[in-house]
Amino acid sequence: MLPFVSALWLGILTSISPCPLAANIAAVSFLSKKINHPRLVLQSSIAYIAGRMLTYAILGAIILTSLTSVPATANFLQKYMNRILGPVLLIVGLFLLDVIKINIPSFSISKDKQTTLAESGVKGSFVLGVIFALSFCPIAAALFFGSLIPLALKSAYGIILPFFYGVGTGIPVAVFALGIAMGVTSFSKWFRKATAFELYTRKITGIIFVIVGIYFIWHYFVAIMA
């Protein structure tokens, strides 16, 4: 029982440390976009956690079966994923702000479907979970490669531990997203302005994505050049 709790706790520790804060803010805003529909926020949150869980599980399995070495994987991901993250967030942000529009020919995809893709609740959240899980910041790398992997190597259930770690990394973000959605829903009932606020949440998420994207680009491109 203890290794599972430890793995979960290591995940939570990773998530609440200051270093993934920028990414977590982006994730919370993305998950709570449908702010007046806690059920949709819950679905997105579960998808986000599933994305993280699957990523760490695959990564853990690859390392535990010694297909790759820890230093090679750790350094590759830290070097390249964080560089990819900035431009991706920026583009998604501009897309949410309707600055960029993807014109998908109408005969292949219906207008409704196009909107769902843009809102990209469950699928988008899952992908976000995968991308954020792969962008290791130093503390995440220290805890995943330095604490979780050694723990998994010692444990008989080693291969399952990364799942729990993934859940742990997703929980704080999901709790915040759900908390905000539930808070706003009960709050807006008082004012009977349920739908008005939701019109802006997509824009707010877009702005947050652009800011966080620029932050990552600054940190992993510009600061390095200087």
């Binding site: 200051p18 910041c137 130093p138 220290a142």
Partner: protein, 140 residues
């Protein structure tokens, strides 16, 4: 009598030379490496700073006589890439290494710096104790 004294002197000289050569032969050095990459985070800067402060505060003599050396290394620079495999690095790390006659005898990854970085005293104690252990081994 004179011969005896002369012999005693010679023995003394031989002994003294042996002694000094022994000291010089075992040229020991402890190196504390702080490894980082191109992108630096606030916590990473803090760890580097704490490491330097802890060592400067507690190992003045060892630093002055060259027994202890502190090095900050960027592993993303071509000439330093080998450290990643040498020490199996997966994040910013503090490694202490014991070098005898130019050859590394043993090293240790002080992984707990991540745990203690929020508590300056604990961090200082941890680094000081670990380095002291390495220094002690050398004196034996």
């Amino acid at each position: 009598m004179v011969i005896k004294r002369f012999l005693a002197l010679i023995i003394l000289i031989v002994l003294l030379t042996m002694c000094t050569t022994m000291v010089f032969a075992a040229s020991v050095k402890i190196v504390a490496y702080y490894f980082h990459g191109n992108a630096r985070c606030p916590t990473c800067h803090k760890m580097e700073q704490y490491t330097k402060e802890a060592i400067e505060e507690n190992f003045k003599d060892e630093l002055a006589n060259g027994l202890l050396v502190v090095k900050t290394v960027n592993v993303e620079e071509k000439e330093n890439e080998h450290f990643v495999n040498d020490y199996q690095l997966y994040t910013k790390s503090l490694i202490i290494s014991r070098v005898e006659n130019g050859k590394e005898i043993q090293h240790k990854n002080l992984t707990k710096i991540w745990e203690y970085v929020r508590d300056k005293n604990k961090f200082f104690n941890y680094v000081t104790i670990e380095i002291n252990n390495y220094l002690k081994d050398n004196q034996e």
